[in-house]
Subunit: 218 residues, 2 copies
DNA sequence: CCGGCAATCACATAAAGGTGTGAGGGGGGC
DNA sequence: GCCCCCCTCACACCTTTATGTGATTGCCGG
């Protein structure tokens, strides 16, 4: 291939840092531009080395990797960042993803796979530990959340609520369902009681939060 | 370990099927319950073998893997399904994820990793090819979509709109922003003009669709 | 300096929404 | 049969929204 992959490594544990650094240095196609125990000089290091890929530990003394990530991505959006950590709690994972991480490896990842991950992100992939991937997937899979309201709302009431969620007026809903506007009022009244709200807007927002979101109508 | 992992394999390519089947059979801890070239007898096979993990090819003659997946998950929600395909287009990937796939491997995955993936999903992970993982991550990251309205709405108008999206009444918004209710009216009037709507509800729905969703208030 | 726009406020009117009260018919369970 | 819930409708009354028509102030740029 053309150029080597320029890599920066941030890892506070000395043994780990030196171990990974050694491995990266020894790998053809990778150029280890630097290995540091903290991100306190992040900006100047970024500017000096212009890395393609950054291996970034989350837990470091001083500024954490999660704080450093958005800085990196705002300065050099094309730099690919692989997060490394011993923890895979939802909060960190999603914060990292939102901030633009391209990979997420737990610390128990074998060194050989770390090297593989570097090439992976460089080629446009997103290597991640399978437990992290599971968290991400679960986010998509319809939160089989228990519709707390699903049970209490009668089917007619659900019809009316769907009408509201499409932005319809009472009159429109009445026409669509072929009932009188007063009936619509009555249903809405009951829906409000059951949902514990007292306005159209609140009902819609609540319905959406609870997962009624079928907001594709029209 | 306790029991073996019971695996079903669906793959129409004979060589591939027999190759993977051989490997799975030879792996301690795995019990290959069956290997089939199509899913036409899916239900009876599921019932007969009660697999823990299913390796499911997407492109098969007759019913496709994407069609089979929701059936599997509705019948046996706890069964872990790993999708396999040569394609990684967004459409299929997300359809599979929404339908409950637990893993997604491209066909160029080395056999050894396929075996690893079986154990991975069984232990609650979600092995996926890094290119697939990238697609999934991008889904989270790109929301910085172009706010078509972001430009036309003045900052004060955005304040008011955010208030609406929190379900506030004019009066509440007025109080919160320390302005008169008539001023709120005026702003809302202008927002409606710019968004081409004519009710609170429409404005909120439109704002959400366009990505203003910061609906975390309160 | 002037025109344009953002932001503020006012007054007025009509339409839509929220709430109280009541009521009749149908179906299911006990 | 009686009770309860769902669905239907009606009328009344008040609040909130939507819209029309102005007006004042302040900032920015030509």
């Amino acid at each position: 291939m053309e150029n080597k992959v320029r890599v920066l490594l941030y890892e506070d544990n000395r043994d780990l840092r030196e171990g990974i650094a050694f491995l990266l240095q020894a790998t053809p196609g990778i150029e280890l531009a630097g290995a540091f125990p903290h991100v306190n000089n992040l900006k100047s290091e970024l500017h000096a080395h212009m890395p393609d890929v950054i291996l970034l530990d989350i837990n470091m003394p001083g500024m954490s990797g999660l704080e450093a990530l958005p800085i990196i991505k705002s300065l050099y959006p094309k730099t690919q960042v692989i997060m490394q950590t011993v923890f895979d709690d939802d909060e960190r994972v999603f914060q990292a993803i939102r901030s633009g991480a391209s990979g997420y490896l737990l610390k128990n990842t074998p060194p050989a796979e770390i090297v593989q991950a570097v090439f992976d992100v460089y080629r446009g992939g997103s290597p991640m530990t399978s437990s992290v991937a599971r968290k991400v997937l679960q986010f998509f899979q319809q939160p089989p959340k228990t519709h707390p309201a699903g049970h209490l709302l009668s089917s007619r009431e659900q019809d009316i609520l769907k009408g509201l969620m499409k932005g319809y007026s009472y009159k429109l809903i009445a026409d669509e369902l072929h009932i009188s506007i007063d009936t619509v009022r009555t249903h809405i009244r009951n829906v409000y009681d059951k949902l514990q709200v007292n306005s159209k807007t609140e009902a819609i927002l609540k319905a959406m939060k609870e997962g009624w979101i079928s907001n594709s109508g029209q």
